[in-house]
Assembly symmetry: C2
Homo-oligomer: 260 residues x 2
């Protein structure tokens, strides 16, 4: 029996921070057919609120060092402000959205990232996606909206990379669905030369990725996205698309499709 | 056929603000048998965060005037910080909690409070509880945890009194369940004289309430709680208890039970 289709769409900070871009995206998302899940980051909003609260933001290699105060800001901004406004807007578009962290319905269990050279603080690496619990919501015709927070099952919340949450959800739910994963961001896709928007690589397999990576073709922020993408395909996700937010409805444009 | 039982427990700011009191309460709540729902306010935490962000808190008759900036703080603190930490703690106690605003699964629809003498801003009066949607979560064995936020179905979130949310949820769900509503706060119950903790009125009917109200026996903050309680009983809720948080597990102490 063939599985039903599920689209998992991750949007990044640039969409979140621009109210009209977010509205445009949510319109497209609301029209996407079939089962779907939205995953969002929080972008610079958390940095902004932290700074107003007198909490310094400490980033290493694009990852936020998350002390207790910073975790509170993350929980407020990602789990509250951003997530609940997206849910309210989707409800306004007749999508029966439900906002979630990984703590809700024990959906995403993680462990504190081990301390090697750097102690990232309250940052969790995903260990298990509870696809049965999430599926109860999907089957009840609710549309889950995940922010980038997970938990350890013992009362502790963790800050977790949103790209990783999207790929782990995709892998977990591929046991039940034919999953398509969309990474939407400010570029039209994976670019061969960072400065040339027309240099979109339309199809990329793992071998090509490795080769281009060794040539230093990719921006630092692109590497975890691509690593997550190939991991997703390796573990059962049907297709991964990388492109600007309109890619979810318009396939007559350039974007990147990944395959093994 | 007799209906199954559902307990709805509302906790106030004093429990939220005291981390060990909250832990103690959540332990008791986790052991409460049968279906259950938790409703929480946010207490002074929102005022504290607002003040740090340079947003003045403007209270009239104990109600917060909610401008756009204040609504953002409410959404961060109630919907994010407080709600998600409670959810994570309940998961640590093996309760499969799910944190909600009234926007999630369109659970509580409200309208902006009409402007008479005072414009309360983004404050919503509850118009409809979507008991069917909430029941899907209950029947999936999830334990809903509501914060004091609702929505207008058109993308707008509203700040809403947590006592009212608890009573409206209780009324809505009494169509499906035999509902017991608990208002937990810092006193042992409704007191005949505010300064005497031993003056708990153990049983109070509506006639007695009206009589005592006219005598000016009750503190301002008590009146909406009691009005909400009697409204709940009038519209189908089986019983309303008012007392300190231990009342949910220990009935061998003084507390107030209301009846019509």
């Amino acid at each position: 029996m063939s599985k039903e289709q599920l689209s998992i769409v991750k949007i990044g900070g640039n969409v979140i921070e621009d109210s009209s871009a977010l509205d445009d995206f949510l319109q497209l998302f609301s029209k996407l057919e079939g089962y779907k899940i939205l995953v969002h980051g929080g972008g610079k909003r958390a940095t902004h609120v932290a700074s107003k609260l007198g909490i310094a933001s400490n980033m290493i290699n694009g990852r936020r060092i998350t002390d207790a105060d910073t975790l509170e800001v993350i929980t407020m901004v990602y789990g509250g402000l951003v997530n609940k406004n997206i849910v309210a807007k989707l409800q306004g578009l007749n999508i029966d959205a439900i906002g979630l962290t990984g703590a809700d319905i024990n959906s995403i269990y993680s462990k504190k990232r081990p301390v090697k050279e750097i102690d990232y603080g309250f940052v969790g690496d995903v260990k298990k996606v509870n696809h049965q619990s999430i599926n109860k919501l999907i089957q009840a015709d609710f549309t889950p909206v995940f922010c980038a927070i997970t938990h350890d099952g013992n009362g502790q919340l963790f800050n977790t990379n949103a790209d990783t949450i999207a790929s782990e959800l995709a892998i977990g739910l591929s046991k039940l669905y034919q999953v398509e994963l969309y990474y939407c961001f400010e570029k039209n896709g994976v670019l061969k030369s960072v400065d040339d928007e027309n240099s979109v690589i339309e199809y990329m397999d793992y071998g090509t990725y490795e080769q281009l990576k060794h040539q230093g073709a990719f921006h630092d922020g692109m590497l975890p996205k691509l690593d997550n993408s190939f991991r997703a395909i390796e573990f059962g996700v049907s297709r991964v698309f990388i492109g600007n937010p309109t890619v979810i409805s318009d396939k007559d444009q350039k974007f990147t499709t990944l395959y093994l």
